[in-house]
Subunit: 119 residues, 2 copies
């Protein structure tokens, strides 16, 4: 029996080949999840779960991160005790080239029209 490593703790990522357009669109068709994606897209690096500006309960937030992870939109990994989040840009660009960038850009435009908020 081997010791569990930190990587073992976040295991249910789809392989790139198993990412589907259907799953990605369902993941992005939610305003909270788009906000999470935008925040990572505009961050200087990967983001820890506790650092997002989202107006939902912790359990609802956990659900949204899980949908993003299981659809292949984000990759989660541990850095010490922090669960970090990064966009799977390269994998998504194999399945749906340009889609992530188009959604982030459109969401940015809507945020500007709504009053300039970054989320």
């Amino acid at each position: 029996m081997t010791a569990r490593t930190a990587a073992d703790r976040v295991t249910d990522h789809p392989d790139a080949d198993d990412i589907t357009l259907q799953g990605v669109l369902e993941a992005l068709a939610d305003p909270v999840r788009r906000s999470i994606v935008r925040q990572i897209a505009h961050a200087p690096g990967d983001m820890a779960c506790g650092t997002f500006d989202i107006s939902v309960t912790r359990s609802t937030g956990t659900h949204h991160f899980r949908v993003l992870r299981q659809s292949g939109v984000i990759r989660q990994y541990y850095a010490g005790t922090s669960k970090m989040n990064t966009l799977r840009r390269d994998d998504l660009d194999l399945v749906c080239p340009g889609l992530l960038a188009a959604v982030v850009e459109a969401a940015d435009r809507e945020a500007v029209r709504a009053g300039g908020a970054r989320r």
Copy 2:
């Protein structure tokens, strides 16, 4: 009292300013609706409702066309007794530049991987 024209019969299209990313993503996050969009995208011209290759009942098809119309993805108009469908490419490119093209391209790729069917 004025006579009703053919144009009056399909009235509930959003103005371009009222098209939202949320509505567009919800509309496209359904495989039947994506199939409809792809068929129009690849057709040489606008398509009459009765000419689509979709494997749902007539009433379900009507629902899907309504969602596409009310989200601003398609415009419907009458030509004689035929209800015609066209993509609102220019209006969509104001709200979410590149999104429609990215979704159609990704759906094309999936169709090719699934066996080359056009839908």
